[in-house]
């Protein structure tokens, strides 16, 4: 009975969205079939796009950019964040810059990044990177600055050099906090790349969206935005699985699993 309820809860939002969509389309509430094609028509478009290879290729392009941007943001975020969290001088020097850039809408910098990085892949990766970096960086700074001193004393007493303790003690202890920031950053990376592809196209799922809008292939627009949302949803699930595996030792994770 419990598993049935569990499945029902997972299926229901999709079923409800499909139902609402069918009704909106059927009765032309938001517009005619052209503006709001039925789910069936979008499904046909979707199959056609998969069949001629467009969707697979564009999805691969977008996914590749997202993963590069996200990997760069994780490495840079953890390294800079840990330095800010652990070293007073670095914190003093970088805090004004980080706290200015964190709440700043990164989209305001997109045009400047286009000028600097050009209209190709580099600028789209830069958008994803800039959206993903700060949540990770701030979480790493906060997490590493709040480590129990006893953990470090024990490591030192057992003969761990300070630098090794950074990797062996500080980062693992801050991992729950870092991963919370990293989960927010993941969606940022996806949205940054997708927006970049929409603005200055060429390839990628965002380009499919913008191009379909210009050429009035409305069904393709729905196919594109549904695909990128499903990618976001799937990557978030993968992230949660990875987090469970990485934090299997921590009390927080045990409490969540229970």
């Amino acid at each position: 009975m419990r598993t049935l309820a569990w499945i029902a809860l997972r299926v229901y939002p999709f079923a409800l969205l499909l139902l609402a969509w069918s009704l909106l389309s059927k009765y032309g509430i938001l517009g005619n079939q052209f503006v709001m094609p039925s789910p069936g028509r979008v499904w046909e478009t979707f199959k056609a796009l998969v069949h001629d290879g467009t969707l697979g290729a564009e999805t691969a392009t977008t996914l590749q950019r997202v993963l590069i941007a996200y990997a760069m943001a994780i490495v840079a975020g953890i390294v800079i964040g840990t330095l800010i969290g652990r070293l007073r001088y670095v914190r003093l020097a970088l805090r004004p810059i980080a706290s200015f850039l964190f709440p700043t809408p990164k989209v305001a910098l997109y045009p400047a990044m286009f000028i600097i990085f050009g209209l190709g892949s580099a600028s789209k990766i830069a958008f994803g990177f800039s959206e993903a970096l700060f949540p990770i960086l701030l979480a790493a700074a906060a997490g590493t600055s709040q480590i129990e001193p006893r953990l470090l004393w024990s490591a030192a007493a057992l003969g761990t050099p300070a630098r090794a303790a950074l990797v062996k003690v500080v980062i693992p202890a801050a991992l729950p906090a870092i991963l919370t920031g990293a989960r927010i950053g993941l969606v940022g990376a996806i949205i940054g790349v997708y927006m970049g592809e929409m603005i200055a196209g060429g390839d990628g799922l965002g380009h499919v969206m913008a191009d379909a809008y210009r050429t009035l292939h409305t069904a393709d627009m729905y196919a594109s935005i549904i695909t990128i949302s499903l990618i976001g949803f799937a990557l978030d699930r993968v992230f949660l699985l990875a987090r469970g595996w990485l934090l299997a030792w921590s009390a927080e994770e045990e409490a969540q699993a229970a």
């Binding site: 409800l16 989209v107 305001a108 045009p111 969606v187 927006m195 929409m198 969206m209």
Partner: protein
């Protein structure tokens, strides 16, 4: 203030100054180095001045833009739509979120929808909204609501969900009705979480505003900036990026100042 009595002796004062000198110098120094690099690099030819104009030229352009009526018309257009959209998101999001926190069936009904809606790139929806409602204010306001509704609902939910049951029992025991206890107990107790959700909402809605204006041009500050990009006005692009970055930072800063000033007992919670 426990060390106050011996802080006056010269030796102590000296060592305290020595300890706090980096705290004063380092932040200023790092910002100065960054701006200095921005100024020198294009001049010295380390980067092309056509792709990164020097800091001083960008500042001159900022000043020039601030004197242009066209800039203010576009800014006012965006600000107005943003204010309406953000207010609508609060009016819908806070009651919905707090009710989800206090009434489990509503949570079970709405939460899966939020989970599905979370990874959708909201700003891209503007193209669909334009198909449905045209390129007017309706689409441009709804996109802002869509952008910041989910974080506002989720934080309001967490705030209301975490309330000590005893607070509500006491209120009910003292004869406060359902509606009364929502206003007098649930809302105040959930306030810190709601306010931090609004802070997130500000950031996300500014993103959505600018990104949607760049996709659908019209009167608006984002359109103004991206039209400058299309026209190859690099200097205007950098000046606008600087202005918008400062506005985004200032909104967050002023919001936090306002919360600390008017709700000082919440310090540290938001």
């Amino acid at each position: 203030m426990a060390q106050a009595p011996d802080a006056g002796t010269p030796a102590r004062l000296g060592s305290r100054l020595a300890a706090s000198a980096p705290a004063l110098v380092l932040p200023i120094l790092s910002v100065a180095i960054l701006l200095g690099l921005w100024q020198v690099a294009p001049r010295a030819g380390w980067v092309r001045a056509t792709s990164i104009p020097p800091f001083s030229e960008v500042m001159t352009q900022v000043w020039a833009l601030l004197g242009e009526p066209e800039f203010w018309t576009n800014l006012a257009g965006s600000a107005q739509r943003w204010a309406i959209g953000f207010a609508l998101a609060i009016i819908v999001g806070v009651p919905l979120g707090t009710m989800m926190g206090r009434w489990r069936p509503l949570y079970r009904l709405v939460d899966p929808l939020l989970v599905v809606g979370y990874p959708v790139p909201k700003a891209a929806l503007i193209l669909l909204f334009v198909l449905w409602w045209g390129a007017g204010n309706a689409s441009r306001i709804v996109i802002i609501v869509a952008g910041c509704l989910i974080p506002i609902v989720i934080s309001s939910y967490h705030g209301a969900h975490g309330i000590e049951p005893r607070l509500l029992w006491s209120a009910r025991g003292l004869g406060t009705g359902r509606v009364g206890s929502w206003f007098r107990v649930v809302l105040p107790a959930a306030l810190p979480q709601i306010l931090s959700g609004l802070r997130l909402g500000i950031a996300i809605s500014i993103f959505t505003l600018l990104a949607s204006e760049l996709l659908i041009r019209g009167i608006g500050i984002g359109s103004f900036m991206f039209t400058a990009l299309d026209n190859g006005q690099t200097l205007v692009v950098f000046a606008m990026a600087t202005i918008l970055a400062v506005i985004g930072f200032a909104l967050d800063f002023l919001y936090m100042r306002a919360v600390r000033r008017w709700l000082p007992w919440l310090e540290g919670d938001v």
